[in-house]
C-alpha cells in the first residue's frame, strides 16, 4: 500500500489554520460537487475497460443467438471482448429459428445446440470458422413442493447432499415421468384412485398425485412441462429427442436404418406418440428460464424446460446477493439425459475475429465456468471438474447425476426435423435465395 492510499487520520492539523475569510483561489462549489462525479465516471470507465483504448476502433459484430446470449450479455464477457476491440450486438431468436431464417447481415450466429448448428453449416457454400466453447445438459426447472411430490411418486430421486440439508437436484426417471404426462392415470398403468381421496382420477393432475396433501397447497392442473416453441428452440427440440428415445424403447429413432423412407416413417410414428405429451401445455412461451427465475415463476409453470447453466448462473448470483442458495427452485435431471453443445459460427471476417477470441482467451473460458457452463478444455472429458470446483468454492451444491446413465443421442438431422415438424406442425423455412 502506498503512502497516498493510507487512510487519512481523522484530524488534519492544517485545516485548523485555514482562514476562511482570506480571499483565496479555490474551486467554486459547483465544481467541487461535480468533480467526484467526473472522477467516479472516469474510474468506472477505467474499470470496465472502456477507456483503455479510447481511440481504438471498436468492431461491432451482429450476432443472432438464443439462450446463449446469456453469455454475451454478461458485463464481464463484454468487458473482456472490448479489450479485444469487439462488441457483440445481440439479435434474439430461437436456435432453430436462426437455422431456418435468412442470415443476411449477420457476422456470427450462436445456436444453442448441434442440430441447428449443423443445419446452418450445411447452408454455407464454403467452409466457415466456428468454435464449440462449452456444453450444458438439458434440465427441468421446478420448485421444491413439486419435486417432493414426484419423489413421493417414485418418479424422482433426490441427489445426496454432502453435508445433509435440502438437496437442489433430483434425478427424474423419464419412463415413469412420461406415464404422468400421457393422459392416463398412474405412472405405469391405470391406477384409478391414486391418492386415496375416493375420487377416481382421469388423468394425472398435480392434486391427483398428492400435491394437495401438502397442507394448504393445491394445483388442479395436469402434470406437464412448459417449453418454448417446438419449431424454433433448441431446448424443445432436444426435449423431443429425449421423449422420442424413451418412447422408441430406449433407442434413437431411425438409427441404423439405411432406408431413408423407413427412417422417416419411424420418425412420424414416434412423433405421433409424443405429440400429445407436448400439446398438453397449449401455447408455447419463449424465454422459459426468464419466467422460471422471475417472481411468479412457480405460478406460471410448475415445470419449465431450461438449461443447466441458466439455473447454476442463478444460484451463483443468488448466493452473492443473499448469502445462501435458492432452495425453492430445484432441478430435475432427466434420465436418460441429453447434453447440448452450442456452436459459435462465423459468417464474416468480423465473425472470424470473434471466433478467434473465444477460442484463445482463457479468461473468456474461465468466465463461462462462472456463468455455469461446462467448459471444454482438452478432449471430451474433464468438462465438469472445473465447474464443480467453482460451485464447491462458492457454496453451491455440486450436481452429481448418475454416472452410468444413458445418454440420448440426437437422431439424424432429417429424422429429428421430421419429428419436430410433425409434433409442432411447423411452417416451412424461409431461406436466403441461392
Amino acid at each position: 500500500m502506498s503512502e497516498a492510499d493510507r487512510p487519512h487520520v481523522s484530524q488534519e492539523p492544517r485545516l485548523r489554520t485555514r482562514d476562511r475569510n482570506r480571499p483565496r483561489a479555490r474551486l467554486p462549489i459547483h465544481v467541487l460537487v461535480a468533480l467526484p462525479l467526473a472522477l467516479a465516471g472516469l474510474i468506472s470507465l477505467l474499470v470496465t475497460g472502456n477507456a483503455l483504448r479510447p481511440f481504438d476502433r471498436i468492431t461491432t459484430i451482429e450476432a443472432r443467438m438464443a439462450s446463449k446470449s446469456d453469455y454475451f450479455k454478461d458485463p464481464e464477457v463484454r468487458r473482456l471482448l472490448l479489450q479485444h476491440g469487439l462488441r457483440v450486438d445481440i439479435h434474439r431468436l430461437g436456435s432453430r429459428g436462426i437455422a431456418t431464417q435468412s442470415l443476411k447481415g449477420m457476422d456470427a450466429v450462436f445456436p444453442s445446440g448441434q442440430p441447428a448448428a449443423k443445419q446452418i453449416l450445411d447452408r454455407q457454400d464454403h467452409s466457415v470458422r466456428s468454435v464449440r466453447p462449452f456444453v450444458t445438459p438439458l434440465v427441468l426447472g421446478t420448485f421444491r413442493a413439486y419435486a417432493e411430490t414426484l419423489e413421493k411418486m417414485r418418479v424422482a430421486t433426490a441427489q445426496p447432499t454432502p453435508g445433509g440439508g435440502k438437496t437442489l437436484y433430483y434425478n427424474l426417471d423419464m419412463h415413469k415421468f412420461i406415464g404422468l404426462l400421457d393422459g392416463k392415470t398412474g405412472v405405469d398403468q391405470d391406477m384409478g384412485d391414486q391418492d386415496g381421496d375416493e375420487t377416481e382420477e382421469r388423468a394425472d393432475t398435480w392434486n391427483a398425485i398428492g400435491f394437495d396433501r401438502r397442507g394448504g397447497r393445491s394445483n388442479s392442473g395436469r402434470v406437464l412441462v412448459r417449453t418454448s416453441s417446438v419449431c424454433e428452440s433448441n431446448s424443445a427440440g432436444t426435449y423431443l429427442s429425449i421423449l422420442a428415445f424413451v418412447k422408441n424403447e430406449d433407442s434413437t429413432p431411425g438409427a441404423g436404418q439405411t432406408d431413408k423412407t423407413k427412417a422417416m416413417k419411424e420418425a412420424r410414428e414416434v412423433a405421433g406418440k409424443i405429440k400429445p405429451l407436448i400439446d398438453l401445455q397449449g401455447m408455447w412461451a419463449d424465454e422459459q428460464a426468464d419466467s422460471y427465475l422471475s417472481a411468479l415463476g412457480e405460478s406460471i409453470a410448475p415445470i419449465s424446460l431450461i438449461y443447466e447453466h441458466q439455473y447454476l448462473a442463478h444460484q451463483i448470483e443468488y448466493r452473492q446477493k443473499h448469502g445462501s442458495q435458492d432452495t425453492d427452485r430445484v432441478l430435475l435431471y432427466p434420465s436418460p439425459y441429453a447434453l447440448t453443445e452450442p456452436q459459435l459460427i462465423s459468417l464474416s471476417d468480423k465473425g472470424d475475429r470473434l471466433v478467434d477470441v473465444i477460442e484463445n482467451d482463457p479468461r473468456l473460458r474461465q468466465r463461462a465456468i462462472e456463468l455455469g457452463f461446462r467448459v471444454r478444455f482438452s478432449g471430451e472429458d474433464g468438462t465438469s471438474d472445473q465447474l464443480n470446483a467453482y460451485l464447491g468454492e462458492h457454496g453451491i451444491q455440486v450436481p452429481t447425476p448418475n454416472r452410468d446413465e444413458t445418454k440420448v443421442y440426437e437422431p439424424d438431422l432429417d429424422v429429428l426435423q421430421e419429428i419436430i415438424n410433425s409434433v409442432g406442425s411447423c411452417p416451412p423455412p424461409v431461406l436466403d435465395a441461392p
Binding site: A25, L27, P28, H30, V31, A34, L35, L37, A38, G41, L42, L45, N50, H91, R92, L93, G97, T100, Q101, A203, T205, S218, N219, S220, G221, R222, L224, S229, C231, E232, D279, L280, Q281, G282, M283, W284, D286, E287, D290, S291, L293, S294, A295, L296, G297, S299, I300, A301, P302, K321, P427, V430
Partner: protein, 519 residues
C-alpha cells in the same frame, strides 16, 4: 473568470464522460398501448430523462393488436401478446415475430362486493371460491358481473379464456373439442356490464355501482380502483382456486430498426427501482424476484392456466360468447321417454340428472352446466303419445321445482313413439323460433327403447322437411339409454346437426351435462 472556466471545464468533462454511457440523441417511439397502461404516464417523463427515449403512447383497446403491423407504431405494449402471436402463427409468420419482453404481471381475478363475497363464501364448503362458483352464482342470479368485451379487449379475452379453461376442467389448455359446445351460457347470463376496454369498464362501474356486484379484470386494476375514493366499499379480490390467466404486459419491438432504443427502455423498466415503482404505482406484480411485494400483493396468485395453442379455439370461444351487451338466452326442449321400461332405477336416474342440472351437482363442470336464469326449458313426457308438456322460464328456484315435479310424475305408458315425440319437439321449436328468432333452440331426446308406435322415422323426416329453414337448423341431441336403438338415434342426430351421447357409458346426468351448451 477563472471560476467560470473551471466550471465549464468540469461540465464539459462530465458531459463527455456521460455521453459515452448515455447514448446518442433523443428518440421518440410510437407505442400502441393497452388503455389500462395509462397509469404509467407519470413514469414516462423519468424514462425520457434517464434514457433519452420518449414513448408516445396511443391507448387503444385491441384484443390481438390488430392494426399493429405495417403502421407507424414502433412498439406495442398490450396486456398480453398471446392472441397476436397465434394470429401470426396462423399466417405462417411466427418465426418473424417481434422481440417481446414481459415487464410486469397481473392475474385476471374477480372483485366482489363484500356482501356478495360473504354470500358466496358461505355456500362454499372451505370458503374458497373458484370460477365454477362464480359461474354457478351468475347462472342463478346471485352474481351480476362486469367484464370487458372479449372481441375488443385483451383483458376481456384473457378473462374469457380463463373462465372457459376452468369450465372445461381438463387441467390443461383448451382443445378444439373443449370449445365445441358453449359451456359459458350460464356464466354469461350473469353479465350486466361491459365496455370496449377494461379501463372503460371500470369507469362504467364507478358510475353505476348498483348494476353489478362483481368485476372481472386484472388484479392491478381492481387494487387501483379500491385505492381510489370512487367506490362505496372496496371490492373483495378473489383469486379463483381453479387457476387464472396471468397477463405479463410485454413490450414488443415492432420496428426492428429501433432496437437500440427498445433495449434502453426495457433495461430501464426492468431495473430494480423502476420495478418497485411500477408495483407501488400500478399494483402490477414485478418480474424481478428480489422485490418484496407490497401488502395487497402478498396473496398468492394461484396457478396460471395454459393458453390454447390455436387461434381457431380462441376465435370459437369469442364468437360463441357473442356480444356481451345483448345477451341471449336459450330454449331447450327435453323429450323424455316415460314408457314402462323407465320405471324404477332409470326414472330415478333421470330425476337425479335434472336435480344435478338444477344445482345439486357440486363438481366444477356441473356448476358450469347447470340451468341458468332466463333460460327457457320445455319438458315433454312421452310414451305412445305426448303425456305432458311443461315450459318454464327460469327465474328462481320455484321454476326449477316445477320442472322437478314434472319429471317426478309417476305415470308411465305402454308404448314408445320416439319419432312422433321428436316431431312434436320440432313443432315446439317452430313456435319458439317464430316468437324469438334470435334465441338458439335445441332438442334433447332421451329414450331407453326402440320406437314401437306413432310415426316412422321417414315420416318424421318428411314432416321436418316442410318446416322453415331456421327451424330445420334446430339440432337434436339424442341420449341413448338402455335398449334404445343407437343406430337410429345416431341417424337422427346426424340429420339434424346434433350429436348422440351414450348415457350407458357414463350416466344420464353426465350425458345431459355433456350436451349442455351444444347447439
Amino acid at each position: 473568470m477563472k471560476r467560470y472556466l473551471g466550471a465549464a471545464l468540469t461540465l464539459a468533462l462530465l458531459a463527455a464522460l456521460t455521453s459515452c454511457t448515455q447514448g446518442d440523441e433523443e428518440v421518440t417511439l410510437r407505442v400502441l398501448a393497452s388503455p389500462e397502461l395509462a397509469d404509467l404516464e407519470p413514469l414516462l417523463d423519468d424514462l425520457k430523462d434517464d434514457t433519452g427515449v420518449e414513448l408516445d403512447m396511443d391507448y387503444r383497446a385491441t384484443a390481438d393488436l390488430s392494426g399493429a403491423r405495417g403502421t407507424s407504431y414502433d412498439l406495442a405494449w398490450p396486456a398480453s401478446d398471446r392472441s397476436y402471436l397465434l394470429r401470426l402463427e396462423e399466417r405462417g409468420e411466427r418465426a418473424a415475430r417481434p422481440e417481446s419482453t414481459p415487464i410486469m404481471r397481473s392475474p385476471v381475478v374477480v372483485g366482489l362486493t363484500p356482501e356478495t363475497a360473504g354470500t358466496l363464501r358461505a355456500s362454499s364448503p372451505d370458503g374458497r371460491l373458484s370460477w365454477a362458483d362464480i359461474a354457478d352464482a351468475a347462472a342463478d342470479g346471485t352474481v351480476r358481473f362486469g367484464m370487458a368485451d372479449p372481441r375488443r379487449s385483451d383483458t376481456g379475452r384473457a378473462a374469457l379464456v380463463g373462465v372457459a379453461t376452468a369450465a372445461a376442467g381438463t387441467g390443461s389448455a383448451l382443445r378444439e373439442q373443449d370449445v365445441s359446445c358453449d359451456r359459458l351460457r350460464g356464466f354469461r347470463s350473469g353479465q350486466t356490464l361491459t365496455a370496449a376496454s377494461s379501463r372503460d369498464l371500470i369507469a362504467a362501474y364507478t358510475g353505476h355501482q348498483g348494476e353489478a356486484d362483481a368485476l372481472i379484470a386484472h388484479e392491478s386494476e381492481l387494487l387501483s380502483l379500491n385505492a381510489s375514493d370512487k367506490l362505496r366499499e372496496p371490492l373483495v379480490i378473489v383469486h379463483p382456486e381453479d387457476g387464472m390467466v396471468l397477463s405479463d404486459f410485454p413490450l414488443l419491438l415492432l420496428d426492428p430498426d429501433e432496437r437500440t432504443a427498445y433495449r434502453k427502455v426495457v433495461d430501464w423498466l426492468l431495473g430494480g427501482d423502476v420495478q418497485r415503482r411500477l408495483m407501488q404505482h400500478t399494483w402490477r406484480r414485478p418480474v424481478d424476484p428480489d422485490i418484496t411485494p407490497a401488502a395487497p400483493l402478498r396473496a398468492p396468485v394461484g396457478n396460471a392456466l395454459s393458453f390454447p395453442d390455436r387461434l381457431s379455439i380462441v376465435e370459437r370461444l369469442v364468437a360463441d360468447y357473442g356480444d356481451p351487451a345483448s345477451p341471449t338466452s336459450d330454449q331447450v326442449v327435453f323429450l323424455l321417454d316415460f314408457s314402462g321400461s323407465m320405471r324404477g332405477e332409470r326414472i330415478a336416474e333421470l330425476r337425479d340428472a335434472f336435480a344435478d342440472l338444477s344445482g345439486a351437482d357440486a363438481t366444477s363442470t356441473g356448476k358450469f352446466a347447470g340451468f341458468y336464469r332466463g333460460e327457457h326449458l320445455t319438458v315433454v313426457r312421452f310414451g305412445g303419445r305426448v303425456l305432458q308438456e311443461r315450459t318454464v322460464t327460469v327465474r328462481g328456484d320455484g321454476d326449477l321445482r316445477t320442472l322437478a315435479r314434472t319429471v317426478a310424475a309417476d305415470s308411465f305408458a305402454d308404448s314408445t313413439a320416439v319419432w312422433s315425440a321428436l316431431d312434436h319437439g320440432y313443432r315446439i321449436a317452430a313456435d319458439a323460433v317464430r316468437e324469438a328468432p334470435e334465441r338458439p333452440v335445441s332438442i334433447v331426446l332421451m329414450t331407453d327403447g326402440e320406437s314401437n308406435a306413432g310415426l316412422s322415422y321417414e315420416e318424421f323426416l318428411r314432416r321436418r322437411e316442410k318446416l322453415g329453414a331456421d327451424v330445420r337448423e334446430v339440432p337434436t341431441f339424442p341420449v341413448h339409454f338402455g335398449e334404445a336403438d343407437a343406430a337410429a338415434l345416431e341417424k337422427a342426430a346426424r340429420a339434424t346437426g346434433g350429436r348422440m351421447v351414450d348415457a350407458d357409458k357414463s350416466s344420464l346426468s353426465d350425458a345431459f351435462k355433456e350436451i349442455r351448451g351444444c347447439h
